[in-house]
């Protein structure tokens, strides 16, 4: 279980995270919903250990992670821009995290095939990632994140750079995949529909603060304040 307590981070004058406290249980998907620039991405970067917080703690099953560097946290992060390695093909991108765990090559191959099957990219192993369409790249990034079985999966606006048709289809697929995985997941989005479809619970963020947490319906029925009502109603 991930426990985030009092997380605070400022970039100069801009406060990206303002005493953010959250919990994500194993098997649960928390959707973090908010307008762009509200600090959602910073939250993921801080949890991943890519950005150091000014204050606050991050713990996994009660163990504080302050001294644990990114590569030892076993948290998966799918970047908004995918960050696929351009010098490696599809299979090598997906295998990367497995090789970091020193998994046997035959086992790596099996796992890569399995994960590529989940995302519907069987047969794409030898393709160059630079030759893929946006939707295909997105699936490779998702597969790469899932392959090493991270104990926490973080997805940063995974659908934002896709066109509408693809978005609707992939939204359902991702929701299914996260449902099937028993790991904890944080799904960052600015889209109500995605939050509703994917998140077991939704955390609403505004200007670095978590305004309200709860099931999507609960948030809509009992908004904590006017801003929440307007933000959710506007969708």
């Amino acid at each position: 279980m991930l426990t985030v307590n009092g997380l605070t981070k400022a970039f100069g004058d801009r406060v990206a995270l303002d005493h953010v406290s959250l919990e994500v249980d194993d098997g649960e998907t928390l959707a973090v919903l908010g307008p762009s620039g509200c600090g959602k991405s910073t939250l993921l970067r801080v949890v991943a250990g890519l950005t150091l917080p000014d204050a606050g703690t991050i713990a996994w099953d009660g163990q504080d992670l302050a001294a644990v560097p990114t590569h030892l946290r076993r948290f998966g992060l799918m970047f908004q821009g995918y960050a696929l390695f351009p010098h490696r093909n599809v299979a090598d991108n997906v295998a990367f995290g497995l090789r970091m765990q020193d998994m046997d090559p035959p086992q790596v191959d099996r796992r890569v095939a399995e994960v590529l099957d989940w995302v519907g990219l069987t047969g794409f192993e030898r393709r160059a990632v630079t030759s893929l369409s946006g939707g295909e790249q997105q699936r490779v990034a998702l597969a790469r994140t899932l392959a090493p079985s991270p104990r926490l999966i973080m997805l940063d606006e995974p659908l934002s750079s896709l066109d509408r048709n693809l978005r609707d289809r992939l939204r359902t697929e991702i929701a299914d995949l996260l449902e099937r995985n028993t790991t904890a997941a944080i799904y960052v989005t600015h889209d109500h529909g995605e939050a509703e479809a994917v998140g077991d619970r939704v955390a609403l963020m505004q200007a670095g603060k978590v305004v309200q947490v709860g099931a999507f319906d609960a948030l809509r029925d009992q908004p904590a304040d006017e801003w929440v009502a307007e933000f959710l109603g506007g969708g």
């Binding site: 970047f79 960050a83 090493p148």
Partner: protein, 519 residues
């Protein structure tokens, strides 16, 4: 974001910087310090400055460099225009071929102009300088020109500007960053020209480089040679300083992709223009080399026979060829070993990086003769086999870093972060992400280093002994010997050297991805 967990911490960067900094200190700063000390401790500075010979040498060095630069720009313009603006068959090949003279060893160029029959005199020097540096203009100015947005000069045309005015008012000002850079480079190269002037200048024409060499080797007047080297270094530093200040203010803007910018050759006028520019330019650039090859076979190939016969002479070609190859391998290893950590720092650490970048560029701007003299005065007798490779590596280092840094710098930090999230330690991230992406660029740099080592003459001229002679050094010695046999042997060796260098450079050019680094 400044607050990110830095992948390259200050402590790690400092450790990485130790290797290149110690190298620079030992083989560049210290030798220069010794030369400066030798200048100040003796009456050399006063002697030099009161000698009429010094002032006439400085005057000649300056004006021949200025004239060479102007002539180079004029000679290169048609070819630059055609390559930058038109799409035609074999364009890439023409581009690669025009680079060949620039990378040819100075002894090959000098021998070629001797072979033409221009064995001494001003015309030969100027022509050799133009021949050498046309590539700098074509590459630097052409590179920018091919990516200028054509709609800018088209807009000028619709506003009533004639083609000539549109060029003068719009295109030329936009090309200025590249033109300034290219002319500054050509001026520095010709100002510090050594091998070509040493061979072609006869007794009359001397650049500062040649004067330094003669004072040191003929008169054994090391203090005077040091004083001249220091003087030259000051002048070159001023030029480089001016150039880098200018460059800081000029950034090219409004660029488009080259591929969507090139015009097809359609009208008969265009065909004539492109055809004649290419024919004349390529013809003039290849003529000296063709004459060299042809004449190397004069006398029924006696020169080539001499090359492979173990004669009685102390300076035999076969061991020199062996030395050249071994030194090329050694200096490439040194250049890459030092250049790798240096490139990482230059790409990743702003302040330490720019300091190191400048530090590594200094030897290149210092002139090979100065480096040779400095190493001779400090390390002679201690490093034996390594002395020549170290001198070569010193010159080649910026080529290694400059080809790798743009690639290393263009790697999005997201890729490293993705690797970290997937469980790669910082060291592993470097091996799995940075290194494979930059491997080609490092290979390009290594190729340049090998090519530089094969042809290097200025520093080698000071450091070579009969047992450590390289091919360029041998060519120089053979050119100075009486008798047509040693002359054709020199030409044969020049051909050999030319083929080796051209082969290396063409291989490197194939490796080069679009826009990997700059000169």
């Amino acid at each position: 974001m400044a607050a990110d967990r830095p992948a390259l911490t200050t402590r790690k960067a400092a450790w990485l910087a130790v290797v290149p900094l110690v190298f620079l200190a030992a083989f560049y700063v210290w030798p220069l310090g010794r030369m400066l000390g030798s200048t100040l401790e003796s009456d050399a500075a006063g002697r030099i400055l009161s000698d009429q010979r010094t002032w006439s040498t400085i005057w000649f060095t300056t004006w021949q460099a200025a004239v060479s630069t102007v002539l180079t720009v004029l000679a290169a313009l048609p070819l630059t225009y055609v390559i930058a603006r038109y799409r035609f068959k074999g364009r890439r090949l023409v581009q690669a071929l025009t680079t060949v003279p620039f990378v040819l060893p100075s002894m090959v160029v000098a021998t070629a102009f001797v072979a033409i029959g221009l064995d001494s005199g001003l015309a030969a020097i100027l022509m050799a300088h133009v021949f050498y540096n046309v590539a700098v203009i074509v590459r630097t100015v052409g590179g920018l020109w091919s990516r200028l947005d054509p709609s800018l000069s088209e807009a000028a045309r619709t506003l009533g500007a004639s083609p000539a005015r549109a060029f003068g008012q719009v295109t030329l000002p936009l090309l200025r960053p590249a033109l300034t850079a290219a002319t500054a480079i050509v001026f520095v190269f010709t100002f510090t020209s050594f091998g070509v002037v040493l061979v072609l200048g006869g007794l009359r024409w001397r650049t500062l480089e040649v004067e330094i060499y003669q004072r040191a080797t003929t008169f054994l007047d090391f203090p005077a040679a040091s004083a001249l080297a220091v003087l030259q270094l000051v002048v070159v530093s001023l030029i480089v300083w001016w150039y880098s200040r200018r460059q800081a203010f000029m950034t090219a803007s409004g660029l488009v992709a080259e591929s969507e910018n090139l015009m097809g050759v359609t009208s008969s006028r265009q065909r004539w223009l492109v055809g004649s520019a290419l024919t004349i330019s390529i013809g003039l650039l290849s003529a000296p080399l063709m004459v060299l090859v042809a004449k190397s076979f004069a006398g029924g190939g006696a020169g080539w026979a001499l090359l492979f016969s173990p004669g009685p002479s102390a300076l035999r070609p076969i061991p020199a060829i062996g030395n050249t190859v071994v030194y090329a391998v050694m200096s490439t290893l040194v250049a890459v070993a030092i250049g790798l950590p240096a490139a990482v720092i230059i790409a990743r650490r702003r302040r330490l990086g720019s300091l190191l970048d400048l530090g590594l560029l200094l030897p290149l701007g210092t002139s090979a003769v100065t480096i040779g003299l400095g190493l001779l005065m400090t390390w002679s007798g201690t490093l034996t086999v390594w002395l020549i490779p170290i001198a070569h590596a010193l010159v080649a280092l910026p080529f290694v870093t400059r080809s790798a840094v743009p690639v290393l710098g263009s790697i999005r930090s997201e890729l490293r972060e993705a690797a970290a999230v997937l469980g790669a330690s910082p060291g592993r991230t470097w091996r799995e992400v940075d290194l494979p992406i930059a491997a080609r660029a490092f290979a390009v740099g290594a190729g340049f280093a090998a090519a530089i080592s094969i042809g290097e003459f200025g520093a080698t001229a000071f450091l070579a002994r009969p047992a450590t002679a390289t091919v360029p050094y041998l060519i120089f010695r053979y050119l100075g010997r009486p008798g047509s046999a040693s002359f054709t042997a020199a030409m044969a060796m020049a051909v050999l050297l030319m083929l080796l260098t051209a082969g290396l450079i063409l291989a490197v050019d194939r490796l080069r991805t679009e826009q990997v680094g700059s000169f």
